[in-house]
Symmetry: C3
């Protein structure tokens, strides 16, 4: 059915699901001729397969679940969720394997459900440190709250090093004082602590950690870029979340603060990022909320020429910022604006149109031909999405 | 069933199919000791997994199809078809995503259906420019015609460049004045126009475009090879097709002409390629034809020791040529001959035996020990194929 | 059901199975600070996805099977089994494609069934030469024996060379004079002969052949290491096997001897490896035996809080050795001890705890800070496994 290919035994002790997603994007940029270190650069225009994933999940002997999901975009293997869950305890579910860490609603939500084509500027701080990793996660939930705590090593790439891996621990707690079908208030708080590996890697195969923003996944244009930040002693992160839904309207935001302790007498660094977003479903549907995460709009009437339905249409806007400047350390500061028009054809198909503009930028590595700031850049994006 | 694993809901609004193919090849070459630029080279003999693919396709809400197919040969990811289709319009089907471009019957036919183990010498011109790409394709068809028109970016590999991608547009129209089960006449015409990326790439991650012929997929031996051809302004291509089936006999051919406009005062180049093929099904079956493409023979009686059937047996021969010489530009000219014996065990299994010989060659980068042409080379190939 | 997702047509002529496995490991080492060639090295501690595989297998027209299995660990494609089988002959089954060669019970057994997390020190000699390859295998079996003979090229990686591939032929015969449910005697003998490629590769993309032992799959620490061994004329190998099961007890072992003929006047080399293992299933189950291979314990009562079962618990110990020294050639000699505690939750889930210690080592490339042998190293390993 619409959730992909699903099977279960008569006693429901064994279940299987085969699913997938295809996201095909096109990006065009204007006012995009810059110089970086004297070298001319511009935003790459073109089409790409943003995500092409297969998923296989199931249940064994009622209490044991597995999920496996692999991405093939760019002709490379990207192992996504790949873990075992035990659901036999009353108070918690235990996941072992490769999975998302416990931090940030935006990061934890599926790319199939995001309101905008790409996550916000705040994610510049999150993606390099709290994305999927191999480890153990305990999660629990009540009628209107969820809680998670996890202990994680690194991501999936082969560790060719002979020094110990980095590790991190994190926790996210959400609370929904109001949780009705069309009226929702969501609050959340999360923390993360991570220590580097013996050879100074913080998460992936590269040394140190790098914070930067690409204007879309295909442009290869980075208006802010910290470069590889080495000599890291540890990273502490705090995340705050608040969102609300009122009928077809929704609004919300998140805030992340990172403290980076450094070795060899270097000053510690303090960065932060945030976003605020608002959406209006023109066709009246409410965004869906479940266990501390929002899900995409399900159209009341699917699009169909013969039956006359138009699916669901959603308008959304977002303002976001990230500040990588701290004292004498100047990796850049930036705010941007994103507008979106999303067409939910049915529960499996979605077409997205995004427009993105820089509102304010400081200490960018990019300059215009006349030495000015890269703040007139326009980025237009289109996505066709199927997910099940 | 024989078409793989298939499911559909009772109302037929949702359908799923899981399929795949395994092609295992063995190649042996004789008279294959040559020199290239003074360095001794020979054809690599051995076994390889030519194709190992998984496929997952389906239909959502009746009008929306998806297809995803990934190849794992050589332990590398090769995303093949990965697109969404909309079939809700009367006059056309729209595909968005990674798919074959609209050019050449030989290129558009599935590798499961080709009469020979590898495509012809003509494909030297087509493969680098009109194979699968990310884009939009509109296709339409009537009782005895098909038409397609497409707009495409590049292939699936990650674009690490910061200049705009290359793009192309193409169209293929086929007409079948006679279309009966055992008597078919097929005609076709196609055109392609492509412009390079900002950094001079025409299709893939390498600069320019390279036309060359490998004697089989495993040999690493290239009797003609243009090297990377840069300074390209645009490429225009024309393709012509004609084929006929009369009972167990079939014959046909294609012709491709390429005009390559060049920059910086360089002369434009004009190349062409062609092939003619003929086949005889010893066991009497006719080749199958559908929507402008031929499909492999379905045996009347499957092979079975116990039931006494022998499957279908097919003899085929092909002559093909490609000319990469134009005026002072001498990238080589070549004709070859291929003979095939194909055993269709049943609708899923096929064993193929191919013999390949160079008929004539000019301006090859390869020379024999005595300085002669590499025209005594013999290539023997065997394939075991399962497809569903 | 517990064997994954399975389907068959009513007449059983067509069958399909979708399966997979997820192995997530954690390794910690102590006393692991060494020097190699003056450079400090240590065992990498951390978590990894050891195996993440999808499998798709089936039957067409009753007599023809296919199996395809791909691994995605380390974000790389690893094609495992990918072959066609013909079962229509009375006396033998024929496999064509990528599959395990006919040598060694330990190597032929699935990683889902191994008693210990990693294969023994003996496998240092086997893994580089008799693991999966592309070729043809004939297998036959009677009431209490199995026999295989195979002819193989190289493994799956792309051959970028222009010289002929290496090849090998091998055979394994097993005999079970006693084969009851709880009392088994297994005997086996195997031989392998392999010749290098035109450019001196013996199996994979690298030149020559390299024998070395990693203390676990993640540590990047190699207590013995022959380096790349070139100038190989041919390799001959002999394998011997013996095992027995008596109720919950089992014991067994294997021995491999390799003779490496060398070119250019170099002396031939003679290496050998072996292991002996014993296991006791605390909960009483017997190990399972089928067609010359052992399979993992199936618990009599699955683990369940609500129903009070505890699954199956198994204690096991292994001593193993490999000797890469021959006359003046000193690539090292080593013995180690492995203890295991395995918890079989149900037929799909298993948790494994391993402890590994070096018993004796000579001519290691590793030395301690004081110049001593690396024989105090402790390796602790944990695995969570789901397989179906």
């Amino acid at each position: 059915d619409k959730n992909g290919l699903q099977f279960e035994t008569a006693d429901k002790n064994f279940k299987f699901k085969i699913g997938g997603r295809i996201h095909t994007d096109y990006t065009h940029s204007s006012n995009d001729h810059f110089f970086r270190g004297g070298v001319p650069v511009q935003a790459n225009d073109g089409a790409e397969l943003r995500r092409g994933r297969l998923e296989f999940a199931g249940t064994f002997f009622k209490d044991w679940d597995f999920k496996s999901q692999v991405d093939f975009a760019d002709n490379q293997v990207g192992v996504k969720d790949m873990f075992i869950s035990y659901r036999g305890l009353d108070f918690a579910k235990i996941n072992v394997g490769h999975q998302k860490q416990a931090f940030s609603r935006e990061l934890q939500e599926s790319s199939n459900d995001l309101m905008f084509m790409e996550r916000s500027l705040m994610n510049v701080l999150n993606a390099p440190l709290v994305d999927r990793a191999i480890g153990v996660n305990l999660s629990s939930r009540g009628k209107n709250w969820t809680g998670q705590v996890g202990l994680f090593g690194e991501s999936i790439d082969a560790n060719n090093d002979s020094l110990d891996e980095s590790w991190g621990t994190n926790s996210r707690i959400t609370f929904a004082p109001l949780d009705e079908k069309t009226r929702i208030v969501h609050l959340g708080v999360a923390g993360n602590y991570r220590r580097p590996s013996g050879s100074g890697q913080l998460f992936g195969p590269s040394n140190g950690v790098r914070f930067r923003h690409e204007t879309s996944h295909i442009t290869n244009l980075f208006p802010i870029d910290s470069g590889a930040l080495g000599n890291v002693e540890d990273v502490k992160m705090l995340g705050l979340e608040a969102s609300g839904v009122y009928g077809p309207l929704s609004a919300g935001g998140e805030y992340t603060h990172s403290w980076i302790g450094r070795r060899n007498g270097l000053d510690s660094l303090s960065f932060h990022g945030w976003y605020g977003e608002a959406a209006w479903t023109l066709t009246g549907e409410s965004r869906q909320y479940k266990e501390g995460k929002f899900h995409r709009v399900e159209p009341t009437r699917n699009f169909s020429f013969s039956k006359g339905g138009w699916g669901a249409w959603e308008l959304a806007a977002r303002i976001a910022g990230v500040d990588l400047n701290d004292g004498a350390f100047r990796a850049g500061e930036m705010k941007n604006f994103t507008a979106a028009l999303n067409w939910y054809v049915n529960s499996n198909l979605r077409f997205m149109f995004n427009y993105d503009r820089i509102l304010e930028i400081k200490d960018s590595p990019l300059v215009t031909a006349s030495g000015g700031k890269p703040d007139d850049l326009n980025t237009f994006m289109f996505r066709s999405q199927i997910a099940f």
